[in-house]
Amino acid sequence: MALIEVKNAIKTYQMGDELFYAMNNISFEIEQGDFVAIMGASGSGKSTCMNMLGTLDKPNSGEYYLDGVNVLSLTQDELSDIRNNKIGFVFQGFNLISRTSAIDNVMMPMIYKGIPEEERFERARQALKIVGLEKKENNLPSQMSGGQQQRVAIARAIVNDAPLILADEPTGNLDTKTSIDVMEFFVNLNEKFGKTIVLVTHEPDIAEYTKRTLRFKDGKIIEDIRKK
């Protein structure tokens, strides 16, 4: 069974008099352990699709199964638990909580999962070690570079052992060298830890790191290429 299964997803917005199709009857599957890049121009529907995958938004119609669970039938609280347990988010703008130390940021998903404090510290330290920031655990986001902040965000995304990582233009705010570093972390997570990663980008060389590319245009998937 595929980790992600989307069937006939439609999402429309009213733009003045016109109906705008952000997702126009989209269907696709993503297997466990895959590493997928979603590409497309802005307005192509890739962000809408990511929001749906992240259970932050619902389509008007269609079906979405995550790990066999019919996500669209869940309540808000159940969605919160899904996001907490099954999904790790990495955003373009890092989205760390400001004036809060790296380790506190990483521990946050575990707080909402109800993990005891001691274990939280231990696992957060481990996650920070994976991204190579074990010495920066008490630094505030404002005291770290963009690359470091993004690595803290990655640590936060993996700390709850979520099988799926959704990364929305994770290198969009980083320079080329840092981008490469970050992408290597993703490759590592995919290969060593078996995480399924879905990553939105519009840079072809970033997409090069992935195994598969879904190209969006006008709310439809126009290309589905598997590399290697």
């Binding site: 932050l56 919160s80 638990d81 996001r83 989205n95 506190d104």
Partner: protein, 408 residues
């Protein structure tokens, strides 16, 4: 749902991050709670003071005086026409219900001398029950007894003020003073009772009533007294006693149905009730003014929390994206408000106690700090926190995570 300790930690952390704002927000509650405590301490102090004064005056007392004498339509003032006699007192004692003690007396202002010292004071001709009725206690020597009265002995008790003015540090017992021109031997001194309003309750001399009537005041009517003080056996009995006394006196004074009383009865219970309710009204007034400031403090908390929710929209979005439920967000903001108000309440309580004590010392007023208002205002500040924190917290929990994440 996450555990309370972690929520508390998150809340404390975000309060710590905004130290100045947190402090200013709490200030409203601090001032409110402190005000409530100070006001109630002052109110309660006044109440206790009044009660103490009442006690020192004697409780459940009925004071009977001769009615105002009228000379050609001009009122001559209370008790100027001597209509009460020692016989009236005896009749009351014998037949009135609900009474515990009867104390007839005569009083007048007199010049007293000891050696070359002299002092103007009020001399009371009393019988033994008077000391008990008016709560006077002996300091040295013995009280006036029945024999003194029967023999019209020239003995006296002196109050603290008189003792100080005439004797200084000398022991006055068995010394002889002159009241008017009559020599009196001092058989005892009274314990001090202090001021009652403008009245010095210690500036007096007690002599036996019969002595006063025969040898000092020189009245036209033998056996006349200026007042009869009756102590009722309880506060409930005062009204019965009052009715009985009225009937007895009207009968004894041969007053027809249409005639007015030639005496006047004052009920100390009424006066006490009046004083009490006045003081209580005063205390309630103070407390309600203070409560308003507590309420304003609560609105301050709501205001700041609303600003904080807006300002931290993005943070709320992040928390929701990584798995916080609406309830978790609500709890976080509610606890922040609660911590602010309870912390404010605690500091307010301490500040309030401090200020109340300071006022007590600086203005020499009676302040009473009791547990009830402390718990009350502390509890109220908690309620204020929940009450005014709920709306912002609820608002935060309603945010849509996508919109919140996009918020800059």
């Amino acid at each position: 749902m996450i555990d309370f300790k972690s929520t508390l930690k998150i809340a404390l952390n975000s309060l710590k991050v905004n130290k100045m704002r947190s402090a200013l927000t709490s200030l409203g509650i601090i001032i409110g709670v402190a005000a409530v405590i100070v006001m109630l301490a002052i109110g309660e102090g006044a109440n206790k003071q009044v009660q103490a004064n009442m006690e020192s005056m004697g409780s459940n007392l009925l004071t009977i005086r001769s009615a105002t004498a009228k000379t050609g339509g001009v009122s001559m003032g209370m008790g100027t026409k001597p209509t009460l006699s020692i016989k009236d007192a005896e009749a009351i004692k014998k037949t009135a219900r609900g009474i515990e003690a009867v104390a007839p007396l005569m009083s007048s202002s007199k010049q007293v001398m000891y050696g070359n010292q002299n002092w103007s004071t009020t001399v009371y001709g009393i019988t033994t029950p008077y000391l008990y009725v008016k709560n006077y206690e002996m300091e040295l020597g013995r009280p006036i007894n029945k024999d003194d009265d029967n023999n019209a002995s020239k003995v006296c008790l002196i109050g603290k003020t008189v003792e100080r003015e005439l004797f200084g540090d000398v022991n006055p017992i068995d010394k002889t003073i002159r009241i008017g021109n009559v020599p009196f031997r001092i058989i005892g001194t009274l314990k001090g009772k202090g001021q009652m309003g403008p009245m010095d309750q210690d500036d007096l001399i007690f002599i036996p009533l019969s002595t006063a009537q025969r040898k000092v005041f020189g009245t036209d009517f033998p056996g006349a007294v200026s007042q009869i003080i009756v102590k009722a056996s309880s506060i409930e009995e005062t009204n019965i006693a009052q009715t009985d006394i009225k009937d007895i006196l009207r009968r004894r004074h041969n007053l027809g149905k249409t005639q007015e009383n030639d005496f006047e009865i004052r009920n100390s219970a009424e006066f006490q009730e009046k004083m009490k309710s006045t003081v209580q009204t005063f205390a309630i007034l103070l407390a309600s003014i203070a409560s308003v400031s507590l309420l304003v403090g609560g609105i301050g908390i709501m205001n700041i929390m609303l600003v904080s929710v807006t300002e931290r929209t993005k943070e709320i979005g992040i928390r929701m994206a990584i798995g916080a439920r609406a309830m978790d967000i609500r709890m976080q903001f509610l606890i922040e408000a609660l911590v602010l108000s309870l912390l404010g309440g605690l500091i307010g309580v301490l500040t309030g106690i401090g200020i109340a004590l300071f006022i007590g010392i600086a203005f020499k007023t009676n302040v009473v700090i009791s547990l009830a208002p402390i718990l009350l205002s502390f509890g109220f500040s908690g309620l204020v926190g929940i009450g005014f924190g709920y709306y912002p917290a609820y608002k935060a929990s309603l945010l849509n995570p996508i919109d919140a994440l996009r918020y800059e």
